[in-house]
């Protein structure tokens, strides 16, 4: 099938790669500025593990080509995955299709606009074809797998006519599919918001529990297991930590919270977002309390800076807030991250208080404290002996609760987790 994919964000690149890999002729329409930039210079591609390689393969094979938004090449299927701020561009694309020669087009809208946006696009397209909505379930770090082997797809469509064609598009990705849930586009849009908001609230609640556990001397990881075993709750999204980040997650829930706030002043979700910002500074507060507010001149090692493992992205990452706070206090920061160093250097430039370290162990050298901020797998099992020897003071603050507390204490570390 001939498919145009619109957008220059991670969702668009992942869709283009996966759709091309299964044999479609895909043109990715990146807007007028992007299309001449080498792939390996595009941050969202480099930040997602495996994506650059996949895209290069598809371009080599000739199934994937790059273009501008307009004039869009003739195609029957249009996969629209622009940023939520680009609604006006999407309207123009749809208007172009409405005025174009091709009839019976299928537009798959993956953009996260307001509830009702897909229906509005449908009325713009009129009788030139169908607009359906498939929520973007992108999970940064595992985006390719998430797209090509979904377990569940929600499909928002208002006219049954589109169903045959959309099934055909999705067929190669249906091997592990348990459920294709059909609903109206408005319901699908709302569902997408509702899921994201629910996850945020869950995380916010767990973090609140963890902070209380800290004060009451209870280990939250034990509590988590107990909660997760209850089938009404389940084990996912129950890990306490130093706040959630990421461009997508953050912008989704902020938008959803915005809808609530149009209705009333304060919403549960708004509170969760605000508290999450506070939670991002948790490790800083633990340091502050440990050192009685005297952080000037202290050397603080960071293990991990990206907002989660598997991505180089530092968008809304807790690490940024902690680094900002430490620099303000005149502390020195030694940071290591297996992927995010380039982004960090770009963000902070030549800041004299920050040292960018080649290895995890070199970051910990002569450090007064080690902060585990992102749970990259290479950090899970360090050489405790060596770590303890290399640090000036063996203080470990574990923002993701990945270390065995007993083991840490046995090796002479002062260990602080989140809620344990």
């Amino acid at each position: 099938m001939k498919i145009n994919v619109y957008g220059s964000g991670l969702s668009a690149w992942v869709a283009a790669a996966c759709l091309a890999r299964v044999g479609n002729d895909v043109v990715i329409c990146e807007g007028s500025q992007g299309k001449d930039k080498p792939l390996n210079k595009i941050a969202v591609i480099c930040d997602e593990l495996g994506l650059l390689h996949e895209l290069e393969q598809q371009i080599d094979s000739g199934r994937l080509t790059r273009s501008a938004y307009m004039p869009a090449p003739v195609a029957g299927i249009h996969w629209v995955a622009l940023e939520s701020s680009e609604q006006e561009t999407v309207v123009q694309i749809v208007r172009g299709l409405q005025e174009g020669e091709q009839s019976d087009v299928l537009i798959i809208n993956q953009c996260n606009f307001m509830v009702g946006a897909t229906a509005e696009l449908q009325s713009l397209l009129a009788d030139k074809g169908d607009v359906v909505y498939i929520p973007d379930n992108l999970q940064e770090g595992v985006a390719l797998q998430g797209f090509s082997q979904p377990v569940r797809i929600i499909l928002g469509l208002d006219r049954d006519h589109a169903l045959i064609k959309i099934r055909a598009v999705l067929r190669p990705f249906s091997t592990r599919l348990d459920a294709l849930q059909l609903m109206s586009s408005r319901e699908a849009e709302f569902t997408k918001f509702a899921i994201t908001g629910m996850l945020a609230i869950r995380l916010g609640y767990v973090n609140e529990l963890a902070n209380l556990a800290d004060r009451l001397g209870v280990d939250i990881s034990v509590v988590q297991e107990g909660m997760g075993a209850d089938p009404r709750i389940g084990p996912h999204y129950l890990s306490a930590g130093c706040g959630f980040g990421g461009q997508n997650f953050h912008s989704y829930i902020s938008r959803f919270s915005g809808i609530f706030q149009e209705e009333r002043q304060q919403s549960l979700l708004k509170r969760v977002i605000d508290e999450n910002e506070v939670q991002k500074e948790l490790l800083f507060r633990k340091l502050w309390q440990h050192f009685n507010g005297k952080l000037a001149g202290k050397v603080i090692a960071f293990w991990g800076a990206s907002f989660k493992p598997g991505t180089a992205s530092i968008d809304n990452a807790p690490s940024l807030k902690i680094i900002d706070a430490l620099i303000s206090q005149g502390a020195c920061v030694n940071v290591h991250d297996p992927e995010a160093m380039i982004n960090l250097k770009e963000h902070y430039g030549e800041e004299s208080l920050i040292t960018y370290c080649e290895t995890a162990m070199s970051a910990a050298e002569e450090a007064d404290a080690l902060l585990l901020v992102t749970e990259w797998s290479l950090y899970w099992s360090p050489d405790y002996q060596k770590l303890s020897e290399t640090m000036r003071e063996p203080l470990v603050i574990d923002g993701r609760n990945i270390f065995d507390k007993e083991m840490m204490l046995e090796n002479g570390f002062t260990y602080l987790g989140v809620g344990r």
């Binding site: 500074e281 507060r285 633990k286 340091l287 502050w288 507010g293 706070a325 303000s328 206090q329």
Partner: protein
């Protein structure tokens, strides 16, 4: 001055006599161009004196008086750092506080401008740290609330400006909740503290001498609250929760505020002239340094105007001289400040201090008792509220009162239609009231057959000050306008407006009475005070639990 020896004074007395029976409505009838002749505008302000009981001749005679009193010379003394505060042997350099960096002022060997800008830079660093959420409370949380503890000049100015300019508050990301407490009895703190989170609250102790008992009492209460809530040692609380704004670093250090947390100013900044200095910290925290600097800029523009403009077009000079005319020649000793703008609700309190603490004096610079009146009694209120309170007295009472009507021409331009209508309504009331006060019944043509109790005499003089709009810059200019007006009057009256010996003695007497409240001794107290103390003691006893 012995007023009898000043030629211009006698001329003004004769002139006043000749105008005595001329009603304001007659003055308007006699001269159709009255507004053009008796109003002055700069780019940002319009002052309308045409509703004052003056003529062109009055103004020229007043200007003669100013010249005979060497006002021009005194203005130069003020600006160049001469010791115009002679009883305390120091200059009064509030104008230097808002002078641009490239306009250096040398006083003795000191480059005052350089000092001022260093101090502003230190304040700026602190403001940024707090606004960006990088000033931390005892548990490492960023500060969200600020409480200014100060009284008099360390309270009224910053409070008035913060209130007036709250629409210019910094962007939501770095917006702080700024509060003020002043009262000695702790009433404000008692109400405020339960609404605050200890870990995120920063206190500013604002006191030039760092010995003001009102302020230290409040500071001690605040510190006790923090100690209790945090369980932290006192030095951590001092370090993370207190900033001292003072001219006495030693006393601040002794109380517990270390040098890093001190913002200092100089003895040549008078308390009621100090909001331009680091005393303005709460203003800068509220509206940001950019807004604070805009306010300084507006005040500086007024300084330049005051220093360089001919007296007949000089706003502070005219405002001051007309005040003198009203007090000394028309025998008006009450002055109402009537802002028709709720944002200026605190302006009357601020001006009460500025004018009455400055010019409430009865001896001249040579220590001789004056044979003429000085500062009138000032009070005021948002005009539209005062209409339902004390305007009755203005319209139909027996006291002559001069009024200042203050308003902004533009407001709510990007707001809803109803709010814009409210602004129009307020403007209409402002103009209507000054008109009725001036013209009396003749302002209302159809009321001629009214009963005697519906009768309005009119002839109450007023000045109307119109700002184009209320901004940090125009407010800076407005405050400087009044500061200089006060100075002009002090020069005419030959008094020192920069000291305040009359507020010192009360503090001493209170200290000596403090002990008496616990155990009354008979030594030398008057009967009234003794009676009051024993009544209070009796009341307290009755509330104590009885032991059987």
């Amino acid at each position: 001055m012995n007023s009898r020896n000043i030629k211009a004074w006698a001329a003004l007395q004769a002139h006043a006599e000749s105008l005595r029976d001329t009603h304001l409505k007659d003055l308007f009838q006699l001269d159709g161009n009255r507004f053009d002749e008796l109003s002055v505008s700069t780019g940002r302000f319009l002052l309308d004196f045409s509703k004052q009981r003056v003529t062109g001749k009055t103004l020229s005679q007043l200007i003669c008086l100013a010249e005979q009193q060497e006002l021009r010379l005194w203005i130069e003394k003020l600006f160049t750092g001469e010791k115009v505060n002679d009883s305390e042997q120091r200059p009064a350099l509030h104008t230097a506080l808002r002078s641009p960096h490239d306009d250096p002022l040398q006083v003795n060997t000191q480059n005052v401008t350089e000092d001022v800008h260093c101090s502003l830079a230190k304040m700026e660093r602190l403001v940024e740290q707090v606004q960006y959420g990088q000033w931390r409370g005892f548990d490492g949380s960023p500060i969200k609330s600020v409480v200014n503890i100060g009284v008099g000049g360390s309270n009224l100015g910053p409070l008035m400006v913060c209130d007036a300019l709250s629409q210019y508050a910094s962007s939501p990301l770095c917006r702080l909740d700024v509060n003020f407490v002043s009262s000695m009895d702790g009433s404000e703190l008692e109400k405020l503290l339960p609404t605050l989170e200890p870990a995120t609250t920063l206190f500013i102790i604002s006191s030039k001498t760092f010995s003001t008992i009102d302020t230290l009492a409040n500071a001690n209460t605040a510190r006790e609250w923090l100690l209790k809530a945090s369980g932290e040692p006192i030095d951590a609380i001092n370090r993370h929760h207190f900033i001292a704004v003072t001219g006495n670093p030693k006393a601040a250090l002794k109380w517990g505020v270390a040098e890093d947390n001190q913002l200092l100013f100089w003895d040549w900044v008078g308390g009621r002239y100090s909001l331009w200095s680091v005393i303005g910290l709460p203003i800068a925290l509220k509206i940001g340094m950019e807004g604070f600097r805009a306010m300084l800029k507006g005040a500086h523009a007024m300084d330049v105007h005051f220093r360089n403009t001919d007296f007949d077009k000089n706003l502070p000079v005219l405002l001051g001289l007309i005040g003198v005319w009203n007090v000394n020649f028309l025998n008006i000793h009450a002055h109402a400040i009537l802002p028709y703008d709720g944002r200026l609700a605190q302006l009357p309190s601020f001006l009460e201090q500025l004018e009455m603490e400055s010019n409430g004096k009865s001896i001249n610079r040579d220590g001789k008792r004056l044979n003429y009146r000085t500062c009138p009694v000032l009070w005021g209120e948002v005009g539209s509220n005062a209409q339902h309170a004390f305007y009755q007295l203005l319209h139909q009472g027996t006291e002559p009162v001069m009024c200042d009507f203050i308003t902004a021409a533009k407001r709510y331009e990007s707001e809803g239609e109803e709010l814009q209508k409210q602004h129009q309504l307020s403007l209409a009331n402002c103009l209507a009231q000054s008109r009725l006060l001036a013209l009396g019944d003749s302002a209302v043509a159809s009321e001629q057959d009214a009963s005697c109790y519906q009768h309005y005499d009119g002839n109450q003089p007023s000045t109307t000050i119109v700002m184009n709009e209320l901004t940090p810059e125009s407010l800076g200019g407005l405050i400087a306008l009044y500061e200089h007006k006060v100075f002009v009057q002090s020069v005419i009256w030959e008094i020192n407006p920069f000291d305040q010996w009359g507020v010192e003695q009360g503090k001493n007497v209170a200290l000596s009475l403090l002990a008496e409240l616990d155990a009354l001794s008979d030594d030398g107290l008057d009967a009234s005070t003794k009676g009051l103390i024993s009544y209070v003691q009796q009341c307290c006893k009755e509330n104590e639990p009885h032991e059987n």
